[in-house]
């Protein structure tokens, strides 16, 4: 399934009419005016030779271009999402267009020499950046990339992008990190709505099935005006099937097998588009057993996932309506050896050569594990009431159910059992041209209702709460000759009502509200024909999340107290005997200011992209050591959440070079420096320097295979030189090392050594069959990843070879 389509309809003798749709990355701004561009390539169907000097014209406009010597063409500054292309090409004009299914920014359109009947041509149009974020550095991941390994998590898929890494709790729970920030500081937008999940700590990954995604955009700046508060570090935008009209019935069937964990995956998608109605359904199933590290099995790291989604779209006169539903059901195993509730057990687990618990391979998933289901229902209506304006209404409903099981007394009961209901209403007006200003004005209402289900035998770690947020925003852009300017402002009012239980089961309540302003300004300037400069400065804010406010006691192997769970009495002694009200505690929302620039320079055979950035966060919430206290389980270190000011400065650089027509290479390096500037100390869990090189070999035709691509990717991740000092837990327990509220931040184990990995992938097509082999950690390297919490207990998985097959059925 491609995201963008180009259709041929029955043609006149001298030209081919191609109808194409260009949809923007985000479903809710489809008709950005004059921001689209479209590129393609004309080839002879038989000889695969380029067709030069053909005229490509937009029907009903003056816009036209000619293909160059390689058959390539580009049309820029297109104002509408739907166009008809007229291709006039001498000698080919009375010919057939075969159905094609190609990929890339310049996919070929094949032309035959004789006309008998016309069929559909599907090509992809290059995407132009999303409204309001055009000046922010961003990258896209398309369906082809997603299909390569459907078993991946969202974070793992996008971690391949420049400046993006992942932070994890093993192979199944992975969160994206953009320029050092993760969790609540990254906004995840699923189908136009903030993904409503238990987004606290780093133990919870977004329950999004990537196989139902059509494309994913990673916005690396403070994109909060457009997408909502919380986007301090950036935003990840996941779009589902765009439901194009005029698309003949198709069915894609895929299957995969992976060696590590003996995982299987199957997927099916069926869809069709008529003139005014379209639909799709998609199903996905994944089952993976225990993964293995080079030297041992990682017991209880299996995963099971079922996903289903369906959508339909219909158009009546000027109204265009989309309905969408998706469902994800996951059972995620967590490494059994990562459980240590006592100091003794933690010391043993962290210091062992091998994990403490190794059993033979199994598909079985036992405690500790997470069972989650996520439902999303969506209605979107676009009213194109005038040619250059439209009104969009969008409503979403999400139900997120989460149960977590732990190794404990009564382990058959979930220790966490939550239902989270999220409801969104959005109304957006794309206004007509005002003084050459192009823009949108929107209002949004967001409601979240979290409830604990009874029967856990544990004091609720997260209280019941209701969040109500109303927002208003304006985004405007102006195009000058070589510069585009954009600016936006957003106002949010948020009210939270909280009800929880103290450890003695007494009820506490609180209600608090915030009003905050988010703003952004930026420009894109085409310095020369071959170089572009982007500049964006944005602000963002977020309310401290429920875990940062209310967590208490032990979770995993760490005992920590939220901002409202501790205070100092008159003697300066830390107390945790009651829950504070937010007003009393002085806890404040985080405020972020992110500046991001991007310079892109292209020559005939190279492309350089340099992206420096700086992010300053006021009231940055983090946890710091408090003391070692005696408990019935033995002495345990205790942490508290605190607020400070932090700064993040870094840069990403990539260099693409074309060695020949078939071979190109991409070199990338990312560097980040960060600091807690209030206490003048380092921050924990920040991504280390990483560099990689990808060598691609592309062959359009190789024997019976088409569009073959072989990639070899060596990469090196450095030791994190900026990690905090190490204090082994045994030194804390024995009292060799004492901890006070003024102690410098520490980690329990040294940051792991740097490591070299080699990945290889091979993808090719035979008619409608796509074949893929993806091998990761080919050298079976023993290594631990600094951003994986399991690094305390076990090595990362060893070699994995993933085989995938995809077959596309098409109605001819």
């Amino acid at each position: 399934m491609m995201s963008k389509y180009l259709y041929l309809s029955r043609m006149a003798t001298k030209s081919i009419f191609i109808f194409f749709l260009v949809l923007s990355t985000v479903s809710f701004s489809q008709s950005d005016s004059c921001q689209y561009q479209f590129s393609g390539k004309l080839l002879d169907i038989d000889t695969k030779d380029p067709i030069p000097f053909a005229t490509v014209k937009i029907q009903g406009s003056e816009k036209a271009t000619q293909t160059d010597g390689k058959g390539q063409f580009i049309l820029e500054n297109l104002c509408e999402e739907e166009h008809t292309l007229i291709i006039s090409c001498f000698g080919y004009c009375d010919s057939i267009c075969e159905a094609n299914h190609q990929h890339g920014s310049a996919p070929p359109i094949y032309l035959h020499k004789k006309v008998e009947q016309l069929d559909k041509v599907i090509i992809e149009a290059e995407e132009i950046k999303e409204r309001g974020t055009e000046s922010i550095a961003q990258t896209d991941i398309d369906k082809i990339e997603i299909k390569k390994d459907r078993t991946k998590s969202l974070a793992s898929l996008i971690s391949d992008q420049q400046g993006v890494t992942l932070i994890s709790m093993g192979s199944n729970v992975q969160l994206p990190v953009i320029h050092g920030l993760y969790g609540n500081r990254i906004l995840i937008l699923n189908n136009g709505f903030k993904h409503g999940f238990q987004n606290w700590g780093r133990e919870h990954a977004p329950e999004i099935d990537i196989s139902s995604a059509d494309n994913i955009t990673v916005v690396k700046g403070a994109a909060g005006v457009r997408f909502g508060a919380e986007a301090l570090g950036g935003a990840i935008i996941v779009n589902a099937n765009p439901l194009h009209f005029r698309e003949s019935l198709y069915a894609d069937v895929g299957a995969g097998f992976q060696t590590n964990g003996q995982g299987i995956n199957t997927n099916i998608e069926v869809g069709a588009g008529l003139d005014k109605w379209s639909y799709f359904i998609n199903g996905n199933f994944t089952k993976i057993g225990d993964r293995f590290a080079p030297d041992y099995s990682l017991t209880n790291t299996g995963k099971e996932e079922r996903a289903f989604s369906a959508g339909t779209r219909f158009k009546h006169k000027k109204i265009d309506v989309k309905l969408y539903y998706s469902y994800v059901d996951q059972n995620l195993g967590m490494l059994r050896s990562s459980i240590a509730h006592s100091g003794n057990a933690f010391v043993l687990a962290i210091n062992g050569e091998q994990p403490t618990f190794i059993k033979p391979f199994s598909y079985e998933i036992n405690a500790p594990n997470q069972l989650t289901t996520h439902h999303l229902g969506k209605v979107e209506a676009n009213w194109h009431y005038k040619k250059d304006s439209k009104l969009t209404f969008r409503s979403g409903f999400q139900l997120n159910k989460r149960q977590e099981y732990d190794i404990r007394i009564e382990s058959e009961k979930p220790v966490i059992d939550l239902n989270l209901i999220t409801t969104d209403y959005q109304l957006e007006w794309k206004h007509p041209d005002w003084f050459k200003l192009d823009g949108i004005i929107g209002i949004q209402y967001f409601n979240q209702n979290n409830d604990n289900n009874p029967g856990t035998g544990a004091t609720p770690f997260i209280p019941n709460y209701n969040t109500n947020r109303g927002s208003f925003y304006v985004l405007e852009s102006k195009k000058l000759e070589r510069t585009s300017l954009e600016a936006g402002i957003r106002i949010d009012y948020e009210l939270n009502n909280v009800r929880g239980r103290e450890p003695n089961q007494e009820i506490f309540r609180d209600e608090y509200a915030f009003t905050n302003v988010t703003s952004s300004a930026g420009l894109v300037r085409h310095l020369t024909e071959n170089s572009t400069f982007r500049f964006n400065i944005g602000t963002a804010w977020r309310t401290p999340n429920m875990a940062e406010l209310y967590s208490f006691g032990q979770h995993g192997f760490k005992t920590s107290f939220g901002l409202l769970r501790y205070y100092q009495n008159e003697e300066g002694i830390f107390k945790t005997d009651r829950v504070l009200e937010l007003v009393e505690s002085g806890a404040k929302p985080e405020n972020g200011y992110k500046l991001i620039n991007e310079l892109e320079v292209r020559t005939k055979k190279t492309k350089h992209v340099f992206t420096p950035y700086m992010n300053y966060i006021r009231n940055f919430i983090f946890d710091r050591p408090l003391a070692v206290i005696g408990t019935v389980r033995g002495p345990m270190p205790v942490f508290i959440f605190d607020q400070t000011d932090a700064i993040f400065i870094g840069a990403d650089y990539s260099f693409v070079s074309d060695f020949s027509e078939d071979i190109n290479g991409v070199f990338r390096i990312s560097y980040l420096w960060s600091k807690n500037i209030k206490d003048n100390e380092v921050l924990i869990n920040q991504p280390p320097i990483s560099l990689n090189y990808r060598l691609n070999w592309n062959k359009e035709k190789l024997w019976i295979f088409e569009n073959s691509r072989l990639s070899i990717t060596p990469s090196y991740t450095f030791h994190q030189f900026q990690a905090p000092r190490t204090v082994p837990p045994e030194d804390l327990i024995s009292g060799i090392e004492s901890v006070t509220p003024n102690s410098e931040i520490f980690d329990f184990k040294d940051a792991p050594e740097g490591y070299f990995l080699l990945n290889l992938s091979l993808h090719t097509n035979y008619r409608n069959l796509k074949l893929g082999i993806n091998a990761t950690n080919l050298l079976n390297t023993d290594y631990r990843d600094y951003l994986n919490e399991m690094r305390y207990f076990a090595d990362e998985p060893g070699t994995n070879v993933m085989f995938t097959l995809n077959y596309s059925f098409k109605k001819r």
Partner: protein, 202 residues
């Protein structure tokens, strides 16, 4: 006119969804019986010859997971040349009434085992210094689980005729799901509690 109709359609659609989601509830989570947190552990030594002759020693962490320190409230002071049965009262007293966790441990006795260490040869039986350092060392368990492995909710101790002052007595309860075997030791699994008392024999 058509515009108005269209707008009405959108508004109606929105209205329906809005009404369905705007229920107000401000319910607190329900009360839970928490068995994972121990605030009070009492060791009860009962003279096997005289059930009314009891020696009790308490350890208390009044706020459970809070930052308040654990306190050992009593010494264990036993008489010479007597045989005692050691049992426990284990409670989470954050709950009212307190939650008896001993019952939960009995229910899951195939996942639990008590281990001990004490001043060398403090007892006439068992001899030695207990089985925390070496699981095979002698301890007189009175109970076994379904797999015939010792549990330790009840153990037997015989004091010598000699006196002891200021000795130590450590009891450790290990939680060993899928780990407990005939040879598993005091480091296997996780620690539910680990308490050291002063031991006197007079």
């Amino acid at each position: 006119m058509r515009k108005i109709n269209n707008l009405a359609l959108i508004a109606a659609l929105g209205g329906v969804l809005f009404v369905t989601s705007c229920k107000k509830d401000e319910v607190a989570p329900e009360e839970e019986n928490v068995v994972e947190i121990f605030t009070d552990v009492k060791l009860v030594f009962t003279n096997t010859a005289d059930a009314s002759d009891k020696v009790e020693a308490r350890a208390q962490d009044p706020d459970g997971t809070g930052v308040e320190e654990l306190t050992i409230l009593d010494d264990i002071t036993l008489d010479t040349s007597k045989t005692y049965t050691l049992t426990y009262e284990i409670f989470n007293n954050l709950n009212t009434p307190g939650e008896n966790i001993g019952a939960e441990i009995l229910e899951e006795d195939n996942e639990h085992q008590f281990f001990f260490t004490f001043s060398n040869n403090a007892f006439a039986n068992p001899v030695g210094n207990g089985n925390i350092d070496n699981a095979a060392d002698p301890i007189n368990y009175n109970d076994t689980d379904e797999n015939n492995h010792p549990v330790g909710l009840s153990t037997q101790w015989t004091t010598p005729s000699t006196q002891l002052t200021g000795g130590t007595f450590t009891v450790r309860l290990q939680h060993q799901p899928d780990v407990k075997t005939g040879t598993s030791g005091s480091s296997d699994g996780d620690t539910d509690f680990d308490l050291t008392f002063v031991l006197n024999i007079q």
